[in-house]
C-alpha cells in the first residue's frame, strides 16, 4: 500500500490504538485525582496530583498480600502442571501399553469440558477433602483443568524429538527415567515455557475458582482482592482506580518485557489445540 490508502490505514490504526489504550490510561490517570475533581473533571490531567492515593496502596499490607497470594498460587500451579503433565506426556509419547489411547482420549476430553459445569460438585469435593479456604483447594483443580492442554502440547513436542536419541540412549543402557530428566526435559525448553506461560496467566487471572473456594480475605489473590477493595471503597472511585492500576501493573510490565514469548505462548497453545 502506498499513498492515500496507506495514510488512511495508518490513521485508523492510530485511532484504534488510542481507543484501546484510553481505558487503561484514564484508569491510571484518574487514580491520581481527588474525588471531587474526578467527579467534576473526569477527563484530562489531574490539577492536583494526589500521589498519596498510590502511595497509601503501595505501603499497605493488603496490596502486597494479594499479589503475594496470587504469585504463590500461580507458582504452585505452574510447577505442579509442568511436573504432572510432562510425566504423563512422556508416557503417552514413548510407551505403548494396554489402553494407552483410551486414557489419552479420556484426558483430552478435558479440552471440551467447561469448568463452570463442575464448579458446584467441585466445591462439595474440595469441602469434603478439607481443602476449603486453602491454596491447594485452588491449585489442584487449576492443575487438573490445565492437564488436557498441557499434555497435548508436551506430547507432540516430545514425539518430535529424534527417535534416534531414544534408541541410542536405550542402547547405552539409559533407562526411561534418566532419558526423561537428562534428555527430554533439557531439550524441551520452548514447549515447557509455553505450558508454563499458559498456566501462569490462567492462574494469575483466575477468578471463579478462588471465589468459590476462599473465605478468608488474607488468602485472597489479587482478582478477589480487587473486587473486595472495590466493594469497600465503592464511593471513592479514585482509590479503586489506583488499586486497579497497581494490580494490573505487574502483568503489564512483564508483558512489555517478555512480549514475544507471551504472545507466542498464548497463541501457540490455542493454535495447536
Amino acid at each position: 500500500m502506498r499513498g492515500l490508502p496507506a495514510i488512511v490505514a495508518f490513521a485508523s490504526l492510530v485511532v484504534l490504538a488510542v481507543a484501546v489504550l484510553l481505558p487503561i490510561g484514564l484508569t491510571a490517570l484518574n487514580g491520581f485525582k481527588e474525588l471531587g475533581e474526578l467527579q467534576t473533571h473526569p477527563f484530562g490531567l489531574p490539577r492536583v496530583w494526589m500521589w498519596s492515593n498510590y502511595r497509601d496502596i503501595l505501603t499497605s499490607l493488603r496490596y502486597w498480600q494479594v499479589l503475594g497470594n496470587s504469585l504463590l498460587i500461580a507458582a504452585l500451579t505452574v510447577f505442579l502442571t509442568l511436573a504432572v503433565s510432562s510425566m504423563a506426556a512422556f508416557t503417552f509419547a514413548h510407551l505403548r501399553f494396554f489402553g494407552d489411547r483410551f486414557l489419552l482420549s479420556y484426558i483430552m476430553l478435558g479440552l471440551l469440558f467447561p469448568v463452570a459445569t463442575a464448579i458446584l460438585p467441585l466445591f462439595i469435593k474440595i469441602r469434603d477433602l478439607g481443602l476449603l479456604d486453602s491454596y491447594w483447594g485452588i491449585v489442584l483443580p487449576q492443575v487438573a483443568f490445565s492437564l488436557a492442554m498441557s499434555i497435548l502440547l508436551l506430547r507432540v513436542a516430545f514425539k518430535q524429538l529424534p527417535t534416534e536419541l531414544l534408541d541410542a540412549a536405550m542402547m547405552d543402557g539409559c533407562g526411561y527415567f534418566r532419558y526423561f530428566f537428562f534428555i527430554t526435559l533439557p531439550l524441551s525448553g520452548p514447549v515447557l515455557s509455553t505450558v508454563a506461560i499458559i498456566s501462569f496467566v490462567g492462574s494469575w487471572n483466575g477468578y471463579l475458582l478462588p471465589l468459590v473456594v476462599l473465605n478468608s480475605e488474607s488468602r485472597y489473590p489479587w482478582t478477589l482482592g480487587l473486587m473486595a477493595y472495590q466493594g469497600q471503597y465503592t464511593t471513592s472511585w479514585q482509590l479503586v482506580l489506583a488499586f486497579i492500576t497497581l494490580t494490573i501493573l505487574p502483568a503489564i510490565l512483564i508483558f512489555l518485557l517478555a512480549q514475544r514469548y507471551i504472545v507466542a505462548g498464548l497463541t501457540a497453545g490455542a493454535v495447536k489445540a
Partner: protein
C-alpha cells in the same frame, strides 16, 4: 526399541500424525498400524510412576465433578449432608420457566453473534493491515494484544468506570449536550451492550494475533505471482488470502463461541447480572442463582445445560468445519 522402529517405518509419516489419539475423537483412525511389543521392566516402572498423578488429578477434579453435576441435577439439595430429595427433572423444568435464564441464553447468543459479526471482521481487517511491513506494526500489535493479558475482572471494573454515568464516557456526551446523566449500566435496554464492548475491547487482539500468525504462513510468492498476472487487490484477498486463512478463521470462530458460552468474569464487576437480571450469562446465572444460594441441584442443572451446549457445539463444529484442519 527395535520393534518400535519397525512400527515407525511401516507407517507413512503423514499417517502417524493422523492416527495420534488426540485427534481420535475428531476423526476415525484410518489405518493405525501398530506393532505391540513387550514393555521392559523399566518401562512399567516409568508408567506406574509417571501416569497416575495426572490420571488421579484429572479424575478427582475434572471427570468426577462432571458426572456428579449430572447426578446432583436430579436433586433438591442445599449441599449439606447427602443429596436425598430426588426430584427428577424438576430442576430442568424450573430452569426452562425462569425468565432470567432465558435471558441469559439469549445473552450468550448475542455475544456469539457480536463476536462473529463485529469482532472477527475487525480482527481480520487489522491483521491484514498490520501483517504487511507497515510503520509501527510491532507497536500496534503489542497495543492491541495488551488488553488480552489483563484479567477479565480488571477489564470489567475498568469499563464500569469508563461507562459510569457521572465520571465515564456517557458523562462527557451528556454534559456536552446538556442532558441529564445517562446511566448506561443501570439501563435494562443498554446494560448488555456494555458487556459486548468489553469483550470486543479485550479479545479482538487475540483473534488478530491468530490471523497474523495465519497470514505469515501464506506463501508470498503466490500473491506476487497473482499480482504479476494483473489481479486486483480485492481479488487476491478473496481468492487467495481468505481461502488460505480458512483454518485460522475456523479456529478463531471456535474460540469465540466456546469463550462466549463460558463468559463469567466480566459480568460480575461490570453489572453483577443487573439491572433486573438482564445481563446474565449462563455461568453468571449459575453463580448468582446456584452457588451463592447453595442450590446445588439447581446450579448443577444449569451446568449440565452449559455442558451439553458446549460439547455438542465442539463435536459438531469439529466434525462439520474442522475436518481437514
Amino acid at each position: 526399541m527395535a520393534m518400535d522402529r519397525v512400527a515407525l517405518a511401516s507407517a507413512p509419516a503423514g499417517e502417524r500424525v493422523d492416527a495420534s489419539p488426540e485427534t481420535a475423537f475428531a476423526k476415525a483412525p484410518a489405518a493405525y498400524v501398530e506393532t505391540r511389543r513387550r514393555m521392559s521392566m523399566n518401562g512399567w516402572a516409568t508408567l506406574l510412576i509417571f501416569l497416575p498423578p495426572a490420571l488421579l488429578l484429572f479424575t478427582i477434579f475434572v471427570a468426577l465433578p462432571m458426572v456428579e453435576a449430572g447426578w446432583y441435577s436430579f436433586f433438591n439439595w442445599n449441599g449439606f449432608g447427602r443429596p436425598e430429595k430426588f426430584i427428577g427433572l424438576k430442576n430442568y423444568v424450573w430452569l426452562s420457566g425462569n425468565p432470567a435464564f432465558t435471558r441469559a441464553l439469549i445473552n450468550n447468543g448475542l455475544i456469539i453473534v457480536a463476536s462473529l459479526l463485529v469482532q472477527l471482521p475487525l480482527a481480520l481487517g487489522v491483521a491484514l493491515l498490520i501483517a504487511g511491513r507497515m510503520t509501527g506494526a510491532v507497536w500496534f500489535r503489542m497495543i492491541f494484544f495488551l488488553p488480552y493479558i489483563l484479567a477479565d475482572v480488571a477489564a470489567g471494573l475498568i469499563w464500569r468506570f469508563m461507562l459510569d454515568g457521572q465520571i465515564g464516557i456517557p458523562a462527557i456526551v451528556t454534559s456536552l449536550l446538556g442532558l441529564q446523566p445517562f446511566y448506561l449500566l443501570g439501563s435494562t435496554d443498554w446494560a448488555f451492550s456494555a458487556v459486548l464492548i468489553v469483550i470486543l475491547w479485550k479479545y479482538f487482539g487475540f483473534h488478530m494475533m491468530l490471523y497474523i500468525a495465519g497470514l505469515q504462513g501464506i506463501d508470498r510468492e503466490m500473491l506476487e505471482a497473482a499480482e504479476m498476472d494483473g489481479t486486483q487487490p480485492y481479488q487476491r484477498f478473496w481468492h487467495i488470502t481468505l481461502p488460505l486463512l480458512g483454518p485460522m478463521i475456523r479456529l478463531s470462530i471456535f474460540f469465540s463461541v466456546v469463550g462466549a458460552l463460558q463468559l463469567f468474569d466480566i459480568i460480575v464487576p461490570l453489572t453483577g447480572g443487573g439491572p433486573f437480571d438482564t445481563t446474565h450469562t449462563m455461568v453468571s446465572f449459575l453463580y448468582y442463582f446456584g452457588i451463592t444460594r447453595m442450590r446445588v441441584g439447581f446450579g448443577s442443572a444449569v451446568g449440565v445445560v452449559l455442558f451439553v451446549i458446549c460439547v455438542t457445539f465442539a463435536f459438531g463444529y469439529r466434525r462439520l468445519f474442522m475436518r481437514d484442519d
